[in-house]
């Protein structure tokens, strides 16, 4: 034997896809919403995004150092988490709050469970819910981007919730995003541009977002008190975090079912939970809680939605053979 060659199990070729490339696509997909948020809420929004991403990446770096794990900041998942968290907070909160949220998301929700792929809950939303419970006041006060002096204003959903009816709702403003809300959630159009990019690039598919939005729309129509009123349903679909949540957070690979049927069940769970939280809960919002709650159901959903293999016919109970 003159020469020895590399021996490994087949297949011997791999696709060019990598985890960090997928994360990069998600970041690109979030850019329209981020840019609109900065346009809408000004320099504070930009700084918020920078602080949030920086603290997420630094937290991951230090965490890996302390526990002696291989450095993983290059996979860009911490950047995605930091960016998503920033897009999910009001532009008015103190910067240290978002930094704290990022650290919580990276260390408690992700790192302690084993890092990327091992967390059972969406890190950004875990961080957001932590902030929402801890600093309810600042987290739920939003400014009206259309006012010059930046006065606080209620979001359209809060207006509907308070019983003032639909007269104050301007659907066009909600589509464009000229309303109060968190940095990244207000513009439906910007979110959809990013979502379409991700769908074209094959990063996400429509199973989860579509079933989520449809289930929620039906639930809101049935129990919302306005019936299937076009303005009401559209306002509920365009308001709050549901668009951002449906396309960018419910579709998080790690915390959603891998089975094709499971994705649909997951979407239905999300729609129903969001409906319950929004309509029967104390707050006008409910997307974050609905998603992290449904994250917990994922192992169960997967168990009951194992697809039949190709050519395998479901055995009849007690049937012959």
């Amino acid at each position: 034997m003159s020469e020895l060659f590399n021996v490994a199990s087949s297949p011997h070729i791999r696709s060019k896809d990598t985890s960090s490339r997928i994360m990069l696509y998600v970041i690109i997909g979030l850019l329209p919403a981020s840019c609109f948020g900065i346009y809408n809420f000004g320099i504070r929004a930009l700084i918020m995004i920078i602080v949030s991403i920086a603290s997420a990446v630094i937290a991951e770096y230090i965490f890996n150092k302390i526990v002696g794990k291989k450095q993983t900041i290059n996979d860009l998942s911490a950047v995605v988490t930091g960016l998503l968290l920033a897009l999910n907070v009001s532009s008015t909160i103190p910067y240290w709050e978002v930094a704290l949220g990022s650290v919580f998301a990276i260390v408690i929700v992700k790192g302690l469970f084993g890092g990327l792929g091992q967390n059972f809950m969406n890190p950004a939303l875990g961080g957001r819910c932590f902030l929402l419970i801890s600093f309810t006041g600042s987290m739920t006060s939003f400014i009206d981007p259309q006012s010059v002096d930046g006065v606080s204003a209620a979001t359209p959903l809060a207006v509907i919730k308070s019983g003032e009816g639909l007269s104050g709702v301007n659907v066009m403003d909600m589509l464009i995003g000229r309303i109060g809300g968190t940095i990244g959630e207000t513009s439906v159009i910007a979110i959809l541009i990013g979502a379409i990019f991700l769908i074209i690039m094959g990063v996400i598919d429509l199973r989860i977002p579509a079933t989520y939005l449809i289930t929620f729309a039906i639930f809101a129509g049935l129990f919302g008190g306005y019936g299937f009123n076009w303005t009401y349903i559209t306002a509920e679909l365009c308001g709050g975090g549901i668009m951002l949540g449906a396309f960018f957070m419910a579709t998080d690979y790690v915390t959603s079912p891998i089975t094709p049927m499971g994705k649909i069940v997951f979407g239905i769970c999300l729609g129903i939970l969001t409906g319950i939280f929004r309509i029967f809960g104390a707050s006008a919002e409910g997307v974050s809680y609905a998603i992290i709650f449904s994250n917990l159901l994922v192992p169960l959903i997967e168990r009951v939605t194992v697809p039949l293999a190709f050519g395998v016919v479901k055995e009849k109970k007690g049937g012959d053979k």
Binding site: M1, E3, L4, F5, N6, V7, A8, S9, S10, P11, H12, I13, R14, S15, D17, T18, S19, R21, I22, T72, D75, S77, G114, G115, L116, G117, Q118, Y253, V254, T255, S256, I258, T259, P260, E302, V306, P307, L308, A309, F310, G311, V312
Partner: protein
């Protein structure tokens, strides 16, 4: 849009390296080695002894049972040894070693004037006695395949002309240079099954082959050409049957259960040679390719020829160095550590890759993205099966249909975390099947 199946992947196909090069006949210089297991089933038993002189076409080992196949010398010469030799799949196998005298003196073959005068039994016995096995890789003895329990239920004879493995062009070369032999092989098989229709399933990246076969079969009432979507693993037996007939079979079924018999291009040609000319299986077309090879091309080889000789005939390695040598295609072929192995009835290619083409990627955590699920042609959940495999959870592995895996490697190919999914699943599958046999 051609016919296809659900799932699959689109690797770079690399076929242009060797596809339109003229095919040349390679006469071996060195020793020829014939492993006694070149097929599924019992190994063949040697019928020659060291020192015997043999002729080309002479049987040197007889079938070791019904599911077995005899082996023939592809050259004339002297038996040098009967000993364990390394084979392309990695292990060793008892083999007959023959020194070539360079004369290629042939034994007498019994040609028949008109194959339609043969009855089914005669056809099957001619195929059996010629040592014909599935030449696409599995090596299932063809006479067994052509003797299903209920022959009257066979409705489709499918010629597997997909050649979905990237880089391989041996079947393509046969279809371009001698399509008439393929068609004649099909005609013989159709004679066995009067109710069956013959379908040539060709991927649509081979338009020249499709055109040639269409032209040859245009007046045939029982043959047609099916254009298949170019997608790996289109030539997987279950995937091909589904694409052509929309019938699904699982691991516990035979193609015959769905009324189908699938034979690969080279096998049908071997059937023709066996039935018409009484010629045993001694030669095949073989691709030597890959970016590490100086002159990638196809050869008509004598089975038993050494891989090293084939590489040398293709100009050896380029100066940029070779990192990996593979017997077969890049998706399911076997990586070898050494070229000192013989070609067999089932080996179709030697693929030599440079370091860039088979770069070792670092495996990262699974992010549950589901690309393996989309890629799996068997609609399995490869990432979970690999987890169960790695953790030794055989019960969960079976529950999630791990035994249905066809080991095509699409999941590993698609995985962005570069996990060794197929490897883990294959290993577990082997364990589960072994424990079932106990």
């Amino acid at each position: 849009m051609g016919m296809t199946f659900k799932g699959g992947v689109h690797p770079y196909d690399g076929k242009e390296l060797s596809k339109d090069k003229p095919v040349s006949e390679l006469l071996p210089q060195g020793l020829l080695v014939y492993p006694l297991s070149q097929h599924i089933g019992a190994p063949a038993n040697p019928v020659v002894a060291v020192g015997d002189t043999v002729l080309r076409g002479q049987m040197i080992a007889e079938a070791g049972g019904f599911v077995s196949s005899p082996i023939f010398s592809s050259v004339s010469g002297t038996v040098k040894a009967i000993e364990a030799r390394r084979v392309a799949t990695g292990g060793t196998c008892k083999s007959i070693v023959i020194e070539n005298d360079g004369e290629y003196t042939e034994t007498e073959f019994k040609e028949v004037e008109d194959v339609t005068t043969l009855d089914n039994e005669e056809i099957i016995s001619r195929i059996k006695n010629a040592g014909v096995v599935g030449m696409g890789g599995a090596g299932f003895p063809t006479h067994v395949k052509l003797s299903p329990k209920n022959p009257e239920n066979i409705e489709y004879i499918i010629a597997n002309c997909a050649e979905c493995e990237p880089y391989l062009t041996s079947d393509y070369t046969r279809m371009i240079t001698e399509p008439e032999k393929l068609v004649e092989g099909m005609r013989i098989v159709l004679n066995l099954f009067p109710k069956a229709k013959g379908v040539f399933g060709v991927e649509d990246n081979k338009p020249e082959a499709i055109a040639k076969l269409r032209d040859l079969t245009k007046d045939e009432t029982r043959m047609e050409v099916a254009e298949l979507t170019t997608k790996y693993p289109q030539g997987g037996e279950r995937q091909l049957i589904y694409a052509v007939t929309k019938r699904s079979i699982n691991s516990k079924m035979l193609p015959a259960d769905a009324g189908c018999i699938v034979d690969n291009v080279e096998t049908l040609v071997a059937i023709y040679n066996a039935v018409k000319f009484g010629k045993p299986l001694m030669d095949r077309i073989f691709t030597v390719t890959g970016n590490a090879v100086a002159n990638p091309q196809n050869f008509k080889i004598k089975i038993g020829t050494n891989y090293k000789e084939l590489l040398d005939a293709a100009g050896g390695f380029k100066t940029n160095g070779c990192e990996k040598i593979i017997s077969g295609g890049p998706m399911m072929g076997f990586a070898m550590f050494d070229l000192e192995v013989p070609t067999t009835k089932t080996t179709s290619a030697l693929l030599c890759f440079t370091k860039d083409e088979v770069a070792a990627f670092e495996t990262t955590n699974c992010i549950n993205c589901g690309r393996c699920v989309e890629a799996c042609p068997e609609q399995l959940i490869p990432s979970r099966l690999a987890d169960y495999g790695e953790h030794g959870q055989s019960d969960m592995f079976e529950k999630w249909y791990g035994l249905e895996c066809i080991e095509c490697g699409s999941c590993s190919f698609a995985c962005p975390a570069k996990r060794h999914l197929a490897q883990s699943i294959k290993t577990m599958k082997k364990q589960v099947l072994a424990s079932k046999r106990k």
